[in-house]
Symmetry: C2
Subunit: 403 residues, 2 copies
Amino acid sequence: MDPNNDLAEELERVQARDSVVRAWAARHSDANIIEAFKVAPEGLLSGWTVGVKDVINTFDLPTERGSPIYRGNQPVSDAACVAVAREAGAVVTGKTVTTEFALFTPNITTNPYDPSRTPGGSSSGSAAAVADRQVRAAFGTQTVGSVIRPAAFCGVVGFKPTRRLVPLAGVATLSHAFDTLGWFTRDVADSTTMFQAMTGAGASPQELNRKVGRYLSHQWEAAAPETLEAIDSSCAALEAAGVEVIDIDPLPSLELVFDAANTILHYEIVRVFAWERTHNLDLISDLVRKMFINGARVDHEDYKAAQTVLVSAQIAYQEFMATNHLDALLTPSAPGEAPPLKTTGDSVFNRVWTSLGAPTIHLPVRQGPSGLPVGVQLVGQSWCDQRLLAAAALAEDSFSITT
Amino acid sequence: MDPNNDLAEELERVQARDSVVRAWAARHSDANIIEAFKVAPEGLLSGWTVGVKDVINTFDLPTERGSPIYRGNQPVSDAACVAVAREAGAVVTGKTVTTEFALFTPNITTNPYDPSRTPGGSSSGSAAAVADRQVRAAFGTQTVGSVIRPAAFCGVVGFKPTRRLVPLAGVATLSHAFDTLGWFTRDVADSTTMFQAMTGAGASPQELNRKVGRYLSHQWEAAAPETLEAIDSSCAALEAAGVEVIDIDPLPSLELVFDAANTILHYEIVRVFAWERTHNLDLISDLVRKMFINGARVDHEDYKAAQTVLVSAQIAYQEFMATNHLDALLTPSAPGEAPPLKTTGDSVFNRVWTSLGAPTIHLPVRQGPSGLPVGVQLVGQSWCDQRLLAAAALAEDSFSITT
């Protein structure tokens, strides 16, 4: 592929589609992007355009966090992930639309497959821009389900590495317990290349056990028929590719995690947003204000108890994955196709994995009843990101043949 | 105590001593501070003046991070801890001097007990300002030993809570694995009040087992005679106060932590400071540049292995503390009295506890051979901060009677 051809196509896509998809909070001019391509250093990401979720600092474009409180806010430096990407040759074309503070209030971006549907949140613009081929990759963040869910609704690959593997330096905090940097790409190969650029990990192939667990979540009843079909056809494709797929009953230690994560999130945001609360409450949406009220009711003892629940679950999960020699769990990414724009969709299938800090990846599989993308989530063991990416590459291959 | 009297004394101290101690990177005018006292809200910290380490954002004073790269950098909002403190009634008087990026290059602050000695780093100005009675309390951060070490050298109480209990939102990152917010006060009671303000924890007395472990660190040979004397006299005082003190042999699982922490720190700072490295290498000190070179040599696989070492050690440490019913371990805070200004001192007795994420507190005990402060460190179980603070209050009481 000639990267210059890709760039021309991407710029045309933005020109043609931006008024509908509305993925960008701020963007460099085409002339500046073309110029930046010429002077970018040589590296793993040479020839790549990258979008940056608007909670991540860039020295050359504002970071507004989806909130009028931060309108025009111009950071003095790049977030670590952005600087590392630029050092590896990537060109940042713009900042992608986020929901307010990366929480649940919908913003202006639409789903590239149907403008009446949500692209998901909170990394809405990043998922939509990659899905619409306006950019090759985009950074997002996940605190509950903000990478995997929009990836699912927009039909792209969304990867959330092990928590705190990739620096959050220069990324606005939502919850210090859970925030994790991730990214969107069109395929697993690109996601793996981004992982290598971010971490210095080698490109050597990972040894796989070729064993995946089909995991029926505690929230299984939330899955729509198209999701069950995607799980079934994915498992069939994996088996056809010679992967052993075993059924896993929901782990008892994970049952308490869902509520514990909710307790921690609410407790934290009251304190994390103390400045915004005390200075600009009038500029904060009703949904977020309601979360502050709920958070103020969480007692410190309950917060500590929830943290203890999480620690136990993390230990149990790591042990389970290691002793069963599983490359990944296969489980839903989202309840079904993207819902209408008035919500960013339900993160019911994401919260537990985010809370555990485990790496997780969304893979598109098929179309749902409305012709919108549906896929599956693979969840790995913490600090075994490369094995998860290798398993995802194998799965992606198998899906393209048989689903 | 009439807080207005305290304020007048503090302002006079700054007037008289600032040219020697040099604790402040930026400071409000006395008139502005007096005015802020009048309009501060009622709360747990009413009547308190607070200093803020210059890696922590404030909307009304610059945050320069001890680096010419960030000269004049004015954040648009307060860090979470600052906003929470102000909401509880505290008045921020100024930003305290930090070493460059909270690393090891000495800055301009001197030790209040002897201007030819270091106040310690990296929270140098915060420790010195509290020790010199220029402010009632001050925020610091600890990534290796940057709260406990300066507290020891300056003879104040320094408390580092369980990692990620208090938000780091708005605090510049050094290492996302280890950075922890903490604070300096003159006594344990003030440290406990600050903890309550930050977390919403209740003021009810904690039940103590009245059992402390005397812990001979793997780095024990680094301790100077005055430190051994402080440990001995502290243990004697605790026993006189009816606390059981048992000798603990160094835990095997902690032996690997020291090197693992070093690996993680170096790997992370290369990426965390990618922007500064690629844009302003000429404005970075030789010491920090050398760390970048060492960090670039750390392979991703070594970083992952080090993270695995840490996880195992954290689990083993928590289990050890719980099964032995220990309120705290008693161990050195620093090798001895504050060394000369050309170094910020050795963090050899801090790194392991920081890496574990455990809460830890420094208590002044006595004077060393040069008349400078010497004390001890109490280390608690993660998420049991209130118990550690209660044990520290008991210890502080016992020291004042018998040491």
